[in-house]
């Protein structure tokens, strides 16, 4: 479904990701693991057209090179951004509704999203800025789902959430994973959580892919070493 080949992402003169290559199939979840500044967010931004990139990104065989973020969104790339990025002055319902801005149709509607996150139905009329961090995260994921994406990019969904709240969000994602045919890329700092929620993983260090493999039976210690760049440099 999504194929990335020789992808580099840069902001002006600064290159954040070097020569990444991987594929994500429909219904599959890929975990991006790495420390702060490893290039995870830049990689997602390069895929959805929010930063400049070299290399090939194809969605269902169609090259997305040079397309604007708006065009890619129409093709079915949706992002739940780091820091949740609510539309602070809009209500919860408006935040969700505008997610359908691209006009893509499919199983995700206001009612199916509020079924996944019931609390959002309850707080539909509240300004999004008054929600807790966990609820805002649900809005951010729901907003991305409203676009009925083929590829769902989830950036740091558990960052800054209390463990029990993070658990709740991850449970919803697990449900999503089994029920939908969306290709998902999940950025997550907690290695154990990332492995549990994915089919395959990819570990980034200073902008380069240093380790990748199947999540099932993955060696957490090896990932930990790759994460910090110990012993894998060779």
């Amino acid at each position: 479904m999504l194929k990335v080949d020789g992808l580099s992402a840069s902001y002006g003169d600064y290159t954040a990701v070097f020569d990444a290559r991987f594929e994500v199939a429909a219904g599959e979840t890929l975990a991006l693991i790495g420390a702060n500044g490893a290039g995870k967010t830049s990689l997602l931004h390069a895929i959805c057209g929010l930063c400049s990139a070299q290399g090939r990104i194809t969605l269902d065989g169609a090259d997305m090179h040079g397309l604007t973020a708006a065009k890619r969104a129409q093709l079915g790339v949706a992002l739940s951004p780091e820091g949740r990025r609510m539309f602070a002055s809009l209500s919860v319902q408006e935040n969700l509704e505008i997610g359908a801005n691209t006009g893509r149709t499919g199983p995700w509607t206001l009612s199916s999203v509020t079924k996944l996150f019931p609390i959002l139905g309850e707080f539909a009329d509240r300004p999004a800025r008054l929600l807790s961090g966990g609820q805002q995260q649900m809005v951010a994921i729901g907003r991305a789902l409203m676009a009925n994406p083929k590829v769902l990019l989830l950036d740091e969904v558990s960052l800054g959430l209390a463990p029990v709240v993070a658990q709740e969000v991850m449970q919803a994602l697990a449900k999503l994973r089994t029920e939908s045919g969306i290709a998902t890329i999940l950025v997550e700092q907690d290695i154990r959580r990332a492995i549990a929620a994915s089919d395959r993983f990819l570990c980034l260090l200073e902008g380069r892919v240093v380790l990748q493999g199947a999540s099932k039976g993955a060696d957490l210690d090896a990932i930990g070493r790759a994460y910090f760049g110990e012993g894998t440099a060779a």
Binding site: L50, A70, A73, L90, R143, A144
Partner: protein, 309 residues
């Protein structure tokens, strides 16, 4: 109930020329023009986060467009005034390829520079009467006794039209996209909002409304000069009225205009003291009431935040 009150207020405003004296009419017209200008400025600035300090350029363009359309094409003033708005919108569209490369405060100042450039070009143009300006050729299109009422009704129509347009836009999907873009551009782009298309639309609409309000204002003046039409003082009033009233709120321009004219008329006997009062109230509002007068309701009533947009 609300609707009946609005309808009654509108009817009273329409009937005003039949019982008010000339002084009241002039003041009412000025208030309506300021409301229209503030609504037009609020659309990109308050709802879209696109601040301009050069809207006086559009006021002047609208005014001059009316005078030129009336003199050179012989258009009837009632046709030329809306046409002046359209001309201003098209000229605004023409400068966007350069201006939209600028962001935030650079855009605000860039607009100011554009307005200055237009003023200087107009002052050097003999065709436009140079620095001494020109009279309105179409002044005889309307019988003399009907001039002031006509100008007043045009101002009323412009103010109400601008308000209804902003109201309608903000209830549409387009309004949602505009506000999303203001709140968080990255998130908005990631869900497929095309930033420049949305900004361009509100900018051109705003310029057209501003141009039409400028044309109405200079229709009643019967004479236009570059120093008056391209005076930065216009923008100072518009920004004051909108910020004090409430950025990004439909009622903001009305409340801000009310405060502005109460201060100005109330302190008319004390010379320029009203300027000091305006400055003080602007600083106070920013410190105590950053959402403007329109946000006063929110403080006492939580559910009101729904109305905020």
């Amino acid at each position: 109930m609300m609707r009946i009150l609005l309808a009654l207020a509108t009817a009273a405003l329409i009937a005003l020329p039949f019982f008010a004296d000339r002084g009241t009419m002039f003041l009412a017209m000025e208030i309506l023009v300021i409301i229209a200008l503030a609504q037009a400025w609020n659309l990109p600035a308050g709802y879209g986060g696109l601040l301009s300090l050069g809207h006086h350029g559009f006021i002047g363009l609208g005014g001059y467009a009316l005078y030129v359309l009336s003199r050179d094409l012989g258009l009837h003033v009632l046709v030329a005034i809306p046409a002046a708005g359209i001309v201003t919108g098209l000229l605004a569209l023409a400068i966007t390829p350069v201006l939209f490369r600028l962001r935030a405060v650079y855009f605000a100042v860039g607009m100011w520079v554009v307005a200055e450039i237009i003023r200087i070009l107009v002052m050097r143009s003999d065709w436009l009467g140079g620095a001494s300006g020109m009279p309105l050729a179409g002044a005889r299109d309307i019988p003399r006794a009907w001039m002031l009422p006509t100008a007043y009704w045009l101002a009323l129509a412009t103010a109400l039209g601008a308000t209804v347009l902003v109201w309608g836009l903000m209830r549409s999907d387009f309004g949602l996209r505009l506000k999303a873009l203001r709140d968080d551009e990255i998130a908005a782009r990631s869900i497929g909002v095309a930033p420049n298309r949305v900004r361009l639309t509100v900018f051109v609409l705003s310029a057209a409304m501003t141009g039409m309000a400028g044309a109405v204002s200079y229709f009643s003046a019967l004479f236009i000069t570059p120093l008056g039409a391209f005076d930065i003082g216009w923008v100072v009033i518009i920004v004051f009225v909108t910020i004090i009233g409430g950025m990004g709120r439909l009622s903001g321009p009305f409340l801000g205009a009310a405060l502005y004219f109460i201060l100005r008329e109330g302190l008319a006997d004390f010379g320029n003291w009203y300027l000091i009062a305006l400055g003080t109230s602007a600083v106070l509002a920013m410190l105590v009431l950053p959402g403007g007068l329109a946000s006063l309701g929110d403080r006492f009533n939580f559910s009101k935040t729904k109305e905020q947009s």
